[in-house]
Symmetry: C2
Subunit: 146 residues, 2 copies
């Protein structure tokens, strides 16, 4: 569905959000350990997200990554996905036609449309803060335990 980079990015953002909600700033090493991702690769993805202003970073001692209250409240899953994977997967034709539309639809165009719409809606309506809360409450996990 999403690229590895996107999966790591989303999990990282949620973990950072969870800690930010408790007033804790977190470092790369901590993040990678908590979401079970390769550290250096995760760093690259977080850089992207910081540049896209979807999360915030602070250098130096006691530095790390965090989400501002506003970011927690407003940054959606969709913004993360677009920042990392681009919009292609959320818009492009399932069969790969470069200009699939009602004018010249692929044979699955109208069947895929509602599913893609639902996916877009799903991503658009879930904020990092909301998902972070779910993890905080033990109702969701960012890596496998046990």
């Amino acid at each position: 569905m999403f690229s590895k980079a996107c999966e790591y990015g989303i999990r990282a953002a949620i973990y950072i959000g969870q800690q930010s909600a408790s007033g804790r700033r977190v470092g790369l090493k901590d993040i990678a350990a908590e979401i079970d991702s390769p550290e250096a690769f995760t760093a690259k993805i977080l850089q992207q997200l910081v540049r896209a202003q979807l999360l915030t970073s602070v250098k130096g001692p006691a530095g790390g990554f965090e989400l501002t209250p506003e970011q927690l409240r407003t940054v959606t899953l969709r913004q993360l996905v677009v920042a990392i994977d681009g919009g292609a997967m959320l818009q492009g034709c399932a069969l790969g036609l470069p200009q699939c539309s009602a004018q010249q639809p692929c044979p699955m165009h109208y069947q895929f449309l509602p599913i893609r719409d639902q996916l877009n809606e799903l991503l658009r309506t879930h904020t990092i803060g909301e998902l972070a809360s779910k993890v905080q409450e033990g109702l969701g996990f960012l890596k496998q335990f046990g």
Copy 2:
């Protein structure tokens, strides 16, 4: 959504199906031209599909690819996708957790489930023959014209 290989494979299968429904066997060159795909790469994918017995090939002069009436009727989009991309995308966790389930769900688990179910259902309930008919009737396209 799907890999390039999968996109080409589906488009090719539908085109072969369309021609088979009219009693025509088609060659690789024809296929690649009609679905706008790289010829040699398409050949590899078709080989896979022949091995998986989702379509049929005949060597030699007047040879080529075809779908038997039974294949037209019974082979589903889902079988193509599984043969080419494997089942991961149809089952795996959206956030990449290796064992995401009700026991330890990712924060999006229950939200993604219905969408994935719909996608599976969609792929499962559409046969190549059905999609080929749609193309035959001019209601669907396998490449961009004009």
